[in-house]
């Protein structure tokens, strides 16, 4: 019997006004698998994640988590499914009004109703896991550098030990060394948790470090999907153009 994919997306459509963003997208992500979705700016990578999280409602299509349909799901059922997710946002999306440890503990206290002292201990442990000491726990997000914010965002994403973690451009805006630090932390944390992940990125070196599988999104569809090791020999002109960052090729960037 074939194993049910952790995430199964079929014929997903999403448009904003006249602009079609997702146009019949299909994607499967296996349990414990790390899939990196690459693609140009504005191709709908973030929209894909937001549709899975229920932040955007697709016009058509199916999204299944552990075999359970989640499109149109509301109320307690949706809350139950959302408990399976964690997410690291592009700019970390830390809450300005809360200290670092309160940010990390937020899902435990507000989402799971854990007692604050216990949540604080877990937050400090997770901050340690991403290389941040207890002195950082008392700071506020405005006092952190970009790399530290990403680490705190990662600690927050793993604090509730979710089954599925999304990473939205985890290395964007970081220097190459800090980018590699974040990539390695992601790999280690995901390995420890045994989580299923989808990462969206433009950063090919990040994709090579994080991914088991790479999928390329173009014109609202997955046009290539294969093992990370095969990305250089994909035989797909779109993938070749993208990973080598060439202006010439089948992909025509809209400049206005």
């Amino acid at each position: 019997m074939t194993e049910v994919p952790k995430i199964r997306i079929r014929d997903l459509h999403k448009r904003f006004g006249q602009k079609v963003v997702l146009d019949g997208l299909d994607l499967d992500v296996g349990r414990g698998e790390s899939v990196v979705v690459i693609g140009g700016s504005g191709t709908g990578k973030s929209v894909l994640l937001k549709c899975i999280l229920g932040l955007l409602r697709p016009e058509k299509g199916s999204i299944q988590i552990d075999g359970e349909e989640i499109v149109g799901m509301r109320g307690p059922d949706r809350d139950r499914v959302l408990r399976k997710f964690g997410m690291l946002f592009q700019a970390a999306a830390l809450f300005d009004s809360l200290s670092v440890w309160e940010n990390v503990a937020f899902g435990l206290v507000s989402g799971e109703g854990m007692e604050r002292q216990r949540a604080r201990e877990i937050a400090n442990e997770k901050l340690g896991r991403v290389g941040l000491g207890p002195e950082v726990a008392r700071l506020y997000p405005a006092e952190l550098s970009g790399g530290m914010k990403k680490r705190v965002g990662l600690a927050r994403a793993i604090a509730t030990e979710p089954d599925i973690i999304f990473f939205d451009e985890p290395t964007t805006g970081l220097d190459p060394i800090m980018g590699d630090v974040i990539n390695r932390l992601i790999v280690e944390c995901v390995h420890d948790l045994g989580a299923t992940t989808i990462t969206i990125t433009h950063d090919i070196s990040s994709a090579r470090t994080i991914a088991h599988r790479v999928a390329m999104l173009h014109m609202g569809k997955i046009i290539w999907d294969g093992a990370a090791a095969d990305i250089d020999t994909s035989g797909n002109d779109y993938v070749d153009q993208f990973i080598h960052g060439r202006a010439e090729g089948p992909i025509r960037m809209q400049v206005r």
Binding site: K50, L53, G54, L55, D79, L82, R83, F85, G86, M87, F89, Q90, A91, A93, L94, F95, D96, F106, G107, S110, G111, E112, G113, R156, T160, F166
Partner: protein, 257 residues
């Protein structure tokens, strides 16, 4: 372009916005009555809305009461009715000027702050982050602000009423040389419970409007810093207009004969 089409498009746009606002308000109110309740956040918002608005609302009330006493004295002296100054000041303050001017000042201060804060949270994906942390943004962000503003505004206006009447008293006694005891006696002799209660009901409605418009525009902002600025402007303008419109209808419902 066909002028009828322009009018039609504008009207349909207005209806769509009105519909979205009604759905937002309905959802926000329903979340005010469903657990979990973030009482700590309600308390924090009550301090932000009430305590920190006291100076601006108090000063507005003080000088409004003072000017009202002066103007009524000048007007009423034309037909020898100077003794009505205290009564008209207290009725004017409690029924109209306390709640309306208080509402306008709080609308400018608090409505803008709410729209800017929620708008920034929207464009920096903090509201999306709340959802991924199993927290309903309506319950966590909107409901505490609605509850706090609706409960706090009447308290704020009650204080403003007292300060406004005091402003009138100061001018009446020290500038217009009324007898202090008779001024106070005239102030309370003709004041009815309904005068104060109608002002407090208005204050509660205005508080609800301010929080609703601040949250609605902030929650739905988009387009970076410019979008947040637009949301803030829209929140202030729409709440001020709605306060004046609501004021008319509440006055009608209380005092129409």
């Amino acid at each position: 372009m066909n002028p009828l089409a322009i009018i039609g498009r504008a009207f349909l746009g207005f209806l769509a916005t009105f519909g979205r606002l009604c759905i937002f308000a309905g959802s926000a109110v329903s979340h005010c009555f469903q657990p979990p309740f973030y009482l700590g956040l309600v308390g924090r918002q009550m301090i932000a809305i009430g305590y920190y608005s006291l100076p601006v609302v108090g000063l507005t009330a003080l000088f409004t009461g003072a000017v009202l006493a002066l103007q009524i004295f000048i007007g009423s002296s034309r037909f020898n009715a100077e003794s009505a100054v205290a009564t008209i000041v207290v009725i004017g303050i409690t029924r109209e000027l306390g709640p309306v001017l208080g509402g306008l000042m709080v609308g400018g201060r608090v409505g803008a702050a709410m729209a800017a804060e929620l708008g920034t949270m929207r464009v920096t994906e903090q509201i999306d982050a709340l959802v991924t942390l199993q927290t309903n943004p309506f319950k966590y962000l909107v409901a505490p602000r609605l509850i706090a503003a609706t409960l706090t505004m009447p308290l704020l206006v009650l204080v403003a009423d007292v300060i406004g009447v005091f402003g009138g008293y100061m001018i009446g006694v020290h500038r217009l040389e009324f007898n202090a005891a008779s001024y106070l006696s005239n102030t309370f002799e003709f004041l009815e419970t309904q005068d104060v209660v109608s002002g407090l009901v208005k204050a509660a409605v205005f508080g609800f409007i301010i929080a609703l418009m601040g949250c609605y525009h902030g929650f739905n902002s988009s387009g970076g810093a410019q979008g947040v600025g637009r949301a803030t402007t829209n929140a202030v303008v729409s709440s001020l207009i709605l306060i004046l419109v609501a004021n008319y209808f509440i006055t009608e419902s209380f005092f129409a004969r």
